[in-house]
Amino acid sequence: MKNRNVAIIGSGMSKFSSHREEVNQPEMIHEAVAAALADAQLGLDDVDCVLHGNMELFEMVHQPDMWHVIADGGWGKSGFRLTTGGTTGATLACAADNLVASGLHDVVLAIGFEKLQEGHTTGGITNMADPLWGRSLQTGALTGTGAQKVIDEFGVERARLAAMKYRTIMDEHAMRNRNAHRRLRLERQYIKETAENSPPLAGELRMIHMCSQSDGACAAIFASEDKVRQFGANPAWIVDHETVHREETMIFGSQVSTQRIAAERLFGRHAIGNPREAVDVFEMYDPSAWWGLDWLRDFLLLEGDEHLKMVENGEIALDGTFPVNPSGGVIASNPIGATALVRVVEAAMQIRGTAGEHQVSKPVRRALASGFGGTLWTVLMLLSKEKPACGGVAHE
């Protein structure tokens, strides 16, 4: 049983871009922290713990939380560093929820960042594989097998069109999010040509399908129920979260997906049989259009080609029946250590009604956010507008 309720009461992001050469790491983080405090209408004195996370080998700064204390507000406060790869931002959100729920802290500031321009991203990713038997093969999310899986099941024509339809909807969303890194103004009538003119990366995975490599930081403020009341805050409550890792291989195919397991466990605990009805909006960590398309089926516990139809019918669009990534998602912006926290924050913004131009049109009572990282790891978090009863549910 959750010890006490926790809500996100403010969030902020730095500007996302391929090159933030005008700021250093602490300055970039400061943009997000200042924005989050302003959003929550709090001062640093109101915060009692600062959590920090990214992937060190991208920038080659050891324990970067030490340096970043000069700008992240951590001086004199509690705090520490958590990292789990691409899932880092989602892990930060889970940890912030745990720390506040535990009673150890009342107000936690969680910060994820990455400045990918300062390192070699694919080199950093390759380095996650075993040095003895995996490193020569490892490319992280840059893989053609995700595309091939969809093509094998649904035929090349339908699969290609669906992936590009997904990609185009994501870009339409990014066009409404001023903070998004890549806003390409893709047009639906040129889907085929856009794909054909995009350089192939691996098999059917083309540049246009792939997420960006961004610089950026994201900060979120988590508070206890008492503090929410005291501050008169506009809360997005954390209902529950589930983390599912798997061993250190990137073997696809017949493996059970961590997305489906996470969804089954999380929805199972909350008696959610049909997530498409129970949840109003989903911010998914979609490293590529192919994986975004494919994972919809597992996250939403769908069968057959239901997920393809959702994309083909435009149900996942901002004004559709089940909006996915109104922010434009990861394909638009991907500062890796921040990316999964951005998903949680964007889901919270939809609940708090603060998403501005990319606020979905329907009322949002419950929102879902996912993180992806490591060797197909998943973190899934459920948020709600209504305060959870009795501090959530038992995990037995």
Partner: protein
């Protein structure tokens, strides 16, 4: 706080300078297997439900250093979260996952092989910002040397006293079955060891070390089922200092005092100098033993010198394990301190056992000159 959390089992590998013949996975499995055997717990919903790990990408030269051990900690299709800080922070976070109600039984594992890098100082050099402090060649050793200069100037702790700290650490380590540096030394030998960063001599410094530690933490209800010797975590506190060394009072304990205040307030402790039966301090360098003893309130501020002279460390049962000077990797310093305190509170410390040990404090530190400090209060 409504809930309580206990440490129900601990296991450590022996620490040594170069475990070239075992990979990280092997080290981790050694200790995970041991805590599983101690508790009879397997992995799963009604057993060990999740893992918190402690490791560091740069020390491991591996992106997502926890990726290598997912299966070994039982997280294949399960939960694992990595704390990339001093191991005492791992205890802090693992305790939070239980106190929050999210999990009932959590495995905590830390691992590091410092021997893998050509120089430990090259790793910690990378912790300095690339604009101002990295170009002047700072690393954690140099930062500690500046701290030692400042502290010795203010406290009048002498080099002879620091040598005696090392002599005592070795004497205690010889009775600890997992300690690395167990060879007895004399004051003269210590003082003859080469100067590495003035005033820190080689023998004043914790040795390069490889090893792993595992623990099982559980909620009150589960702890009583798992073990008849639960050790309760009754106080937790930590604190960041500022980054630039010039902005800090290196001779003082700004951050440790705050970390200790938080932990002591939670545990209801007002007189730390008279409270603890066992104390474990992360003394990465000899001068840090008296300095951090001041910060923890074991003696008066600026009282480190007299405290050493009056056998404070022996009277207060400080670092009977040999402490960090006996050898643990930097990332695991605080985790080993907690483990050693738990072993004492379980009455399993053998020759070094303190009779009727009821209450202990364990300390961890990381960052340049102890920028991030953690304090854990434990009771049986």
């Amino acid at each position: 706080m409504a809930n309580r959390v206990a440490i129900c089992a601990v296991a450590q590998t022996p620490f040594s300078a170069n475990k070239w013949d075992v990979r990280a996975q092997g080290l981790v499995w050694e200790v995970v297997r041991e805590v599983r055997e101690q508790t009879g717990l397997g992995f799963g919903k009604d057993a060990i439900q999740a893992a918190v790990t402690v490791s560091d990408d740069v020390f491991d030269a591996r992106t997502i250093s926890d990726g290598a051990i997912t299966d070994v900690v039982g997280a294949h299709y399960g939960a694992e979260e990595k704390v990339a800080a001093d191991g005492a922070q791992g205890v802090y976070y693992a305790a939070a996952t239980v106190l929050s109600g999210h999990h009932d039984v959590v495995l905590l594992v830390g691992h590091c092989k410092e021997s893998q890098s050509a120089s430990r100082n090259m790793v910690t050099h990378l912790a300095f910002d690339p604009f101002y402090t990295r170009p002047v060649g700072l690393d954690y050793l140099c930062a500690a040397a500046l701290q030692a200069q400042a502290y010795m100037a203010r406290s009048d702790v002498t080099e002879d006293q620091l040598a005696d700290v090392v002599v005592r650490a070795r004497r205690n380590a010889a009775k600890n079955p997992v300690a690395q540096e167990t060879r007895a030394v004399t004051r003269e030998e210590v003082l003859a060891s080469p100067m590495v960063a003035d005033p820190i001599r080689e023998a004043f410094m914790y040795p390069v070390s490889d090893g792993a530690v595992a623990m099982i933490l559980a909620s009150e209800r589960r702890a009583q089922e798992i073990t008849d010797k639960p050790v309760w975590i009754t106080g937790l506190g930590n604190c960041y200092d500022s980054f630039f060394l010039g902005e800090r009072d290196l001779a003082g304990n700004f951050t440790l005092e705050r970390a200790a205040q938080r932990a002591y307030a939670m545990a209801g402790i007002s007189m730390p100098g008279k409270t603890f039966d066992v104390v474990e301090i992360a003394d990465q360098y000899a001068h840090q033993l008296p300095q951090y003893a001041e910060g923890l309130g074991l003696c008066d501020t600026n009282g480190g010198g007299p405290w050493l002279a009056a056998d404070g460390p022996d009277k207060q049962n400080v670092n009977l394990s040999g402490g960090m000077l006996a050898g643990n990797p930097l990332m695991l310093g605080g985790l080993v301190r907690v483990a050693e305190a738990v072993i004492q509170l379980r009455g399993e410390a053998g020759e070094q056992q303190v009779s009727n040990a009821r209450r202990a404090v364990a300390h961890g530190a990381t960052g340049p000159a102890g920028q991030l400090q953690t304090v854990v209060v434990l009771e049986n």
